[in-house]
């Protein structure tokens, strides 16, 4: 069974989650201290989307995969060094600001323009992928807004699985409340899928894929258009770290029995 697909994955770059983050306010609004020098990674849920997209492409000949990546050029280049070794794609780079405080509406406009500018993208085969929420703004709205701008009104968020059928339709599983999945069947492309974790392990590095990708990645980075992302965005009144730092009582040398007693009392009537 094969369906030819044109998948566009939208993604951003975010600080490695193991880094300490400290908010600062500069002339252009809030940001994260030294965000430009903190090690960055491809936004994790968008990385799941890329991995799922690559899997679909591999199983459906005549398909194509584009990665539309927005962030400061230098950061994009750094992240590409690892991502390019994982799966094969064509890069569309947008040189834009880093961080979670940029407005999602303006970001979506820049992404939609980039998707529109992709030569050879066939709307009847088009699936727009990305993470359902970013690890920076975490709003879960960007992909939806891009979809609206492109006139795609079959949209799914928190996706963990897609199963293509012979007739081009697909079944999709979205996360809903209470640890369940909502199951839907969509008639087919075009559609928007905001991915959660998905089902696939992260692909291993493959230097050969890296070499092939790099040939097109460097020119794509050079060609990256600049997106200013200003407009009718939010005005930040306060930006701070949580005040709550707990005073931890570390209990050593207490017998398991006594700990269990203490815990059951603490739990009270559940």
């Amino acid at each position: 069974m094969t369906n030819s697909l044109h998948i566009v994955v939208c993604a951003g770059v975010v600080p490695d989650p193991l880094q300490t983050l400290e908010p600062v306010t500069g002339a252009s609004g809030p940001g994260i201290k030294n965000e430009m020098v903190l090690p960055a990674v491809l936004d994790p849920w968008a990385a799941s989307a890329l991995c799922e997209a690559a899997h679909l492409i591999a199983n459906n000949p005549e398909s194509k995969l584009w990665l539309v990546l927005l962030g400061p050029k230098a950061k994009l280049q750094q992240v590409m060094m690892t991502v390019a070794q994982k799966v094969k794609f064509e890069l569309v780079a947008i040189d834009g600001p880093i961080g979670g405080f940029a407005d999602a509406h303006a970001t979506a406009a820049a992404l939609a323009d980039a998707v529109n500018s992709i030569a050879g993208l066939d709307r009847s085969k088009f699936l727009l992928f990305g993470g359902w929420e970013s690890a920076s703004r975490g709003a879960g709205v960007t992909l939806q807004l891009v979809g609206e701008r492109l006139g795609v009104t079959d949209q799914f968020q928190g996706v963990d699985r897609i199963e293509l059928r012979e007739d081009g339709s697909f079944e999709v599983l979205e996360r809903v409340e209470g640890g369940k999945h909502q199951v839907s069947v969509c008639a087919g492309a075009p559609a928007v899928l905001g991915w959660a974790t998905g089902n696939l392990p992260e692909p291993k590095n493959n230097p050969q894929i890296g070499m092939t990708n790099m040939r097109s990645i460097m020119p794509a980075l050079q060609k990256a258009k600049t997106a200013a992302l200003d407009g009718n965005g939010p005005r930040y009144v306060s930006v701070c770290l949580p005040k709550q730092q707990r005073t931890t009582r570390v209990v050593k040398d207490l017998a398991p029995d006594a700990i269990a007693q203490e815990l059951v009392e603490w739990m009270g009537g559940q």
Binding site: A135, C240, V251, V264, W266
Partner: protein, 348 residues
């Protein structure tokens, strides 16, 4: 006069508004009172007459989109419904619950109406200058923000407001007509990861987190994954707690390491997992690294059991850390809970 719109939806019965919707009603009433504005409440429900009964005493204008097409949570029909209700109400602020159903569509709706949106909002303050509070960088940075653009859509995190509870009765509802595009998506049902083990319980008081230590080699040099599974499930059954997990533990399935068969990525708490809301949380065999603990932002009292006296929890992330073997402690906890069940309840 200014109008504030609260958008709500029914649960899977199609005729009862969700708790998160009623929480948004409370927030809407507060905001309307502060701004001296009119309040309108819109409903998306298969049977809106029944759903509206709880809003009878809300003193709001009630609008609804009803019918079979709105039994299914899906983008095309829900976005059209919310858009139509808005066009009938013409509001400056739109408040709605951050449910999977509305989170799927509300940004699209805001865009259609030339408005803007902020999601995961935990508080709305101010009257003249309305300010929304939300978290950035996966609950690591908190910000207050305001916008000049209108309409301003705000999706409210469940659990941040009390649910509206008025005297139920027959309410006057204005039905709003919606022109729907030809349907391309059909919702075929719900799927729980494992039908017999419902481990995620959003309404539980306690979150119980299992970390990768449960399936690692123990001091006797052996892995005790089967016993770990039994202890964890035994505890969940006895306590009614909700089960969370670290990423390392849920990832083990795909890495070919020992697994706890009832865990999936849906249980994962943290940076790339959930941020649940519970009054208390107990972490076991989990190191308490930052990407995990960011998912604990909305957990009130926190305790942890770890063999490592220097684990992350000891650094201001938990209230109490027991440096102990979780196998031994949880075995005893389960026995005590079992005993408690057998004892007659104390007379008051």
């Amino acid at each position: 006069m200014e109008s504030i719109l609260v958008l709500t939806h029914a649960d899977e019965t199609g005729s009862t508004l969700t708790k998160a919707s009623l929480e948004a009603v409370t927030a809407g009433k507060d905001l309307a009172a502060r701004r001296g504005a009119l309040l309108a409440i819109g409903m998306v429900a298969q049977n809106s007459a029944a759903a509206a009964a709880t809003l009878n005493s809300s003193s709001a204008r009630l609008l609804a989109v009803s019918g079979e097409a709105f039994a299914q949570p899906r983008y095309a029909s829900d976005a059209a419904a919310c858009e139509a209700v808005f066009r009938a109400a013409q509001a400056t602020f739109v408040l709605a619950p951050e449910s999977s159903r509305f989170a799927r569509v509300m940004a699209g709706v805001a865009h259609r109406l030339g408005g803007c949106i902020d999601t995961h909002v935990t508080a709305i303050s101010g009257a003249e200058n309305v300010e929304a509070t939300r978290w950035f960088y996966r609950q690591r940075v908190e910000a207050g923000l305001t916008r000049a653009a209108r309409p301003w859509f705000l999706l409210l995190e469940p659990g941040t407001h009390a649910a509206f509870a008025g005297q139920p009765g027959e309410a006057q509802v204005e039905q709003v007509a919606v022109e729907l595009p030809a349907p391309r998506t059909t919702v075929t049902g719900m799927r729980a990861p494992l039908a017999n083990e419902q481990t995620i319980r959003p309404d539980a008081k306690l979150l119980f987190v299992a970390g990768a230590g449960w399936t690692k080699k123990q001091p006797d040099g052996q892995v005790h994954a089967k016993e770990a599974g039994e202890l964890i499930l035994g505890f969940l059954n006895a306590s009614g707690a909700s089960l969370g997990s670290s990423k390392s533990l849920v990832d083990q399935g795909s890495d070919g390491q020992p697994v706890l068969p009832f865990l999936t990525h849906l249980n994962q708490v943290g940076q790339t997992g959930a941020t649940p809301r519970h009054a208390k949380g107990l972490a076991t065999c989990c190191h308490g690294e930052e990407p995990h603990v960011v998912g604990w932002r909305f957990i009130g009292e926190r305790r942890a059991i770890s063999l490592d006296p220097n684990c992350g929890w000891t650094r201001g992330k938990a209230d109490v850390v027991y440096v102990a073997d979780a196998f031994q402690v949880m075995r005893r906890v389960n026995e005590l809970l079992e005993l408690k069940k057998q004892l007659p309840a104390p007379s008051s």
